[in-house]
């Protein structure tokens, strides 16, 4: 019954085409409505910047890998410590915050929804245990399928219905939102310490190629009419020269069509996959051909994976890359093979501006965003905490908005970087509208959650609203970047489902968010064949009984179930 009115809001709502209009927003029972009565709680935005609540389509915030990072890094947990308040629990950690800090940190920046980017099915229960503890945010998880025995066997036997049935089952078992593919096939090769070298390198013992894995999962994705497209971390991440693999991988899905109004392929943290050269000595940016491809094709989207100098904890399902990093840097290394399904690795590292390699990586992320004409095609992410912790998003936003800000950063970066990249010569500066696209609207579109009321402020949307202490018309973001960063860092108001959760950068309430997951129906006979194969694998190879495997209702206390079906 609670009503709220936000008046004098300068609104940027790209999904509804609103570009800096001064308007009022009416909220009732947690949703945006046309109007509310006189007795409604009123917030006077005073002409300040108002965005829909932030949406992060790719971040590592919950589950086994994150906790491995925490356990490995008391040196990280001792940072950013805050005692409890009347409303908040104690906070620890910078790259691997504790669950409370994870939620508060996002909310303080005006974010209200986040997607855990990689959930292994066998360990999904753990992911949900942590997601449940993260306050405020609405969340979802992307389930790993790319090195899975059930997937590869179905592909080898050319049984798309069975594959789709397994995807549907796997999403149910993990309460996942979509298909995540990491270094397709590589996770299985890593089971014996090997990797796959490219799209057409067959996975040892399974006789399928990464190309087939990507292609068929994309087809299964569309057959099931899932809200999100496949979400792909390409082969050869982190290797000089890998941009060719990346472009070839894009092509794999070029003719995949979706019934939904979205991309057929989302490729993630492309910065790490946009490298030219042949080795560390001659590594260079290949953001240009990648941006060129994006400028010519509408079927795909990417996210940046922007690098932030300082401490990071790399954590991906790309087991081989994590090991390679650890060996190179002589760093701590935790590996996590998941039987029949995938791998993972966690390695802490530091990004130094005086390393030209890190300088090039830094440049590439920004180049991808600035050279791609359509702002909807490149989401802003840091692949938290791989490129850097999410608390640095406001800084990244200002670097997209201000050439001066980029130049300031460039002053401390190794000179050689600028021979290998084009960032110094890029003048483009994104505006408030573009930033709204790159930090909420596009994320919601890519993930297929606009129809769920996310990423926009139209009537019917969830009342997830961020008010920032900036008057857009009076602020020149190209020079006042420190002020802009500070404003994005500590929202004047963050409203979640109609409730004020942040005021003046401080947490005021900690409601529990929802967990979004997909329940898809697959054709009956495909399902039958799938179950036969699955039961055999549980009987012979899994170390857990099937009856104990699937995530139970108890682990998702506030579910939002998205139902969809086989086409």
């Amino acid at each position: 019954m609670s009503e709220m009115r936000i008046k004098n809001a300068t609104v940027y709502d790209p999904i509804n085409g609103i570009n800096g209009d001064l308007m009022d927003i009416a909220v009732k029972d947690g949703k945006i409505v046309d109007s509310v009565g006189g007795s409604a709680q009123t917030i006077d935005a005073g002409g300040r910047l108002v965005y829909p609540g932030g949406v992060d389509a790719h971040t590592h915030i919950a589950g086994s890998k994150v906790n491995v990072g925490r356990i490995m890094r008391p040196d990280d947990s001792r940072l950013n410590n805050k005692p409890r308040t009347k409303v908040t629990r104690p906070r620890t950690g910078y790259t691997v915050p504790n669950v409370y800090s994870m939620g508060y940190g996002y909310a303080e920046m005006g974010y209200t929804t986040a997607f855990e980017a990689a959930v292994p099915i066998l360990k999904a229960r753990h992911t949900h245990e942590e997601l449940e503890e993260i306050p405020i945010l609405d969340k979802a998880g992307l389930t790993l399928f790319g090195s899975n025995w059930m997937v590869m066997d179905a592909i080898r036997e050319d049984d798309l219905d069975r594959l789709a049935a397994y995807v549907a089952w796997g999403l149910l078992a993990s309460r996942g939102w979509g298909i995540k593919i990491v270094n397709p096939g590589g996770g299985e090769a890593w089971g014996f310490g090997k990797n796959v070298s490219g799209l057409d390198d067959p996975v040892p013992n399974f006789e399928v190629t990464p190309r087939q894995i990507v292609r068929q999962l994309a087809e299964a994705n569309e057959k099931l009419n899932l809200p999100h497209s496949i979400h792909l971390h390409c082969n050869n991440l982190g290797k000089p020269g890998n941009y060719e693999t990346t472009l070839a991988t894009f092509d794999v899905c070029k003719d995949i069509k979706s019934k939904r109004d979205r991309q057929s392929l989302h490729v993630t943290h492309v910065q790490f996959n946009a490298w030219g050269g042949n080795h560390w000595g001659d590594i260079e940016s290949k953001s240009e051909p990648i941006a060129d491809y994006l400028n010519k094709n509408d079927f795909l989207t990417i996210d940046m994976g922007q690098l932030v100098f300082g401490s990071a904890t790399t954590m991906t399902a790309d087991g081989p890359v994590q090991y390679a990093n650890a060996r190179l840097l002589k760093a701590r290394w935790s590996n996590g093979d998941v039987e029949l399904e995938d791998s993972s690795g966690v390695t802490p590292l530091e990004y130094h501006p005086q390393s030209y390699i890190h300088g090039i990586m830094w440049a590439i992320g920004l180049e991808l965003a600035l050279l791609t004409k359509d702002p909807w095609k490149v989401l802003m992410t840091t692949d938290h905490p791989n490129g850097g912790p999410y608390v640095n998003y406001p800084m990244v936003m200002t670097m997209l908005m201000s050439k001066k800000r980029r130049e300031k950063e460039m002053e401390k970066i190794a000179e050689l970087t600028f021979d290998r990249t084009s960032i110094a010569g890029i003048d483009r500066e994104l505006d408030w509208y573009d930033i709204a696209i790159k930090t909420r609207a596009a994320h919601a579109k890519v993930q297929g959650i606009i129809e769920l009321g996310k990423g926009h402020l139209g009537v019917g949307a969830d009342a997830d609203i961020a008010i920032y202490d900036i008057k857009p018309d009076e602020t020149d973001a190209t020079v006042e970047f420190d002020k802009v960063e500070a404003a994005f860092r500590h929202a004047a108001y963050t409203i979640k489902g109609g409730e004020i959760v942040v005021k003046d950068g401080e947490i005021t309430a900690t409601p529990k968010g929802r967990t979004y997951w997909v329940k898809a129906t697959a054709p009956a006979d495909g399902h039958e064949r799938m179950m036969e194969d699955l039961k055999m694998k549980f009987k012979k190879y899994y170390s857990v009984n099937m009856a104990n495997y699937m995530v139970q209702d108890e682990y998702v206390e506030h579910p939002y179930v998205f139902e969809t079906g086989y086409q």
């Binding site: 947990s77 998941v338 039987e339 170390s543 009984n545």
Partner: protein, 433 residues
């Protein structure tokens, strides 16, 4: 009625294939479990009602739950350095409440790892942990090393379910698919059935591991003729065998974590495995004891950033084993009140720690009598987790699973007791924070 796919609430194997027969709300038979697991599920004498006594040498008197809970809350609320210890036999849901309780009282929360695999965590801080899930090892490993552990005794079904006898995708010949090597100071039952037993001088595992690392790094020339009681030729042979393995596994236990060097043995072993990964594929796994000791580490880490030994006296989590572990504090006589819940301090702590506990109020929350009961002032019996209460537990390889409830009993759960103690403490301390 037969309940299938039951998880065993005893050891870190967390076997989930048990079949339990229940008749008239009582467990009458347990199938597939090992003897110790079956025994726990079959149940035995338990504490019937809450009890209290002021004098630890005196008789207990039966009290109501409310009285026991309120008195416990008073003691903890008024303590300057309370210790909340145990946790490993409970489910994760109650561990979260333990972390919250620790926040309320500004004390130290610590679990049984302190006297067991705590050093393994310290090794992980130094080097990480290259590992995987048990099924990965079951399906792939062709070389299995047990170092300082004796699964035949301590984890009876480990070898048949996971490490040695099972037939996996790449290990279809079962036992014949693997070579089993045991490193230990004495010839244990596990060593008896191994393909090779390597005797290491007590306290010299660290040296042997370093020597193996030198062999693996092709620097054997600096290794002396004998290290830790193992001749150099044998070290070279073993190092080469490890290098040549397709998937080498090292399982380790107290033999490494509690002998000279303690956590350094683990961090050295982790480095050996990391370096071996340049040749084949290798993993390492601590053989966790209690069925949910791993769960405590996971819960505590995501809640506070640290896996155990968390000191909240300054309002922010502080972690420093050697300073904040239970025995560090007890041996310095710092603790002024203790709660022992789902763990048995009395059985596992050194005499000096027990002496200290003898001098301060001790609250025990447990279904069963055990040595801790001897030094308790307040005893609060609860449900047996995993038999009478469902909830989450983490297997030794950090796979989380849900324990089943088999029978109904009229005892509160650990979580319910903790909730009430927390509520009472908040009342005592007032609404401010």
């Amino acid at each position: 009625m037969i309940i299938k796919d039951v998880l065993c609430p005893f050891c870190g194997c967390l076997c989930d294939d048990l079949a339990v027969e229940v008749e008239n709300n009582k467990v009458v038979d347990v199938k597939h479990a090992c003897k110790i697991g079956a025994s726990k599920i079959m149940g035995h004498d338990r504490i019937k009602a809450p009890m209290m006594r002021d004098d630890k040498n005196g008789e207990f008197r039966e009290v109501s739950y409310d009285e026991a809970i309120n008195e416990s809350a008073k003691i903890l609320a008024n303590s300057k350095r309370p210790l909340l210890y145990g946790w490993a036999s409970g489910v994760c849901e109650m561990m979260k409440k333990g972390v919250l309780l620790n926040e309320e009282v500004g004390g130290i929360i610590d679990n049984t790892a302190s006297v067991c695999h705590g050093p393994s965590a310290l090794g992980v801080h130094e080097k990480g942990l290259p590992t995987g899930t048990l099924g990965q090892f079951a399906n792939r490993s062709d070389l299995v090393v047990f170092w300082g552990c004796n699964p035949v005794q301590a984890h009876p079904r480990h070898m048949s379910r996971y490490s040695v006898f099972n037939k996996g995708f790449f290990t279809a010949k079962g036992r014949k698919s693997r070579k089993v090597v045991v490193f230990d100071v004495r010839k244990t039952d596990t060593a008896e059935m191994a393909d090779e037993y390597v005797q290491v001088n007590p306290g010299e595992d660290y040296l042997v591991i370093s020597a193996l690392r030198a062999v693996v790094a092709d620097k054997a020339d600096v290794v002396p003729d004998s290290v830790g009681g193992v001749p150099k030729e044998k070290l070279v042979e073993l190092g080469e065998a490890m290098k040549g393995a397709k998937y080498g596994m090292v399982y380790f236990g107290m033999g490494l974590t509690q002998s000279r060097g303690k956590y350094k043995n683990i961090d050295n072993a982790v480095s050996l495995i990391t370096e071996l990964n340049a040749h084949g594929k290798h993993s390492i796994l601590p053989m966790r004891g209690h069925y949910n000791v791993t769960g405590f580490g996971q819960v505590c880490a995501w809640e506070t950033g640290f896996a155990n030994a968390v000191d909240m006296s300054r309002g922010i989590p502080y972690y420093n084993p050697g300073e904040t572990c239970s025995n560090d504090l007890l041996m310095r006589e710092e603790i002024d009140a203790a709660m022992v819940i789902a763990g048995d301090a009395g059985a596992h702590f050194p005499a000096q720690s027990i002496a200290r506990m003898g001098k301060v109020p001790v609250i025990q929350v447990d279904p069963f009598h055990n040595p801790t009961t001897e030094m308790a002032n307040i005893v609060i019996p609860t449900k047996v987790s995993g038999v009478e209460l469902e909830g989450t537990a983490y297997r030794m390889d950090a796979v989380s699973l849900r324990m089943r409830k088999l029978v109904d009993v009229d005892f509160p759960s650990d979580e319910e007791v903790l909730d009430k103690i927390i509520a009472k403490i908040r009342e005592i301390k007032g609404a401010s924070s």
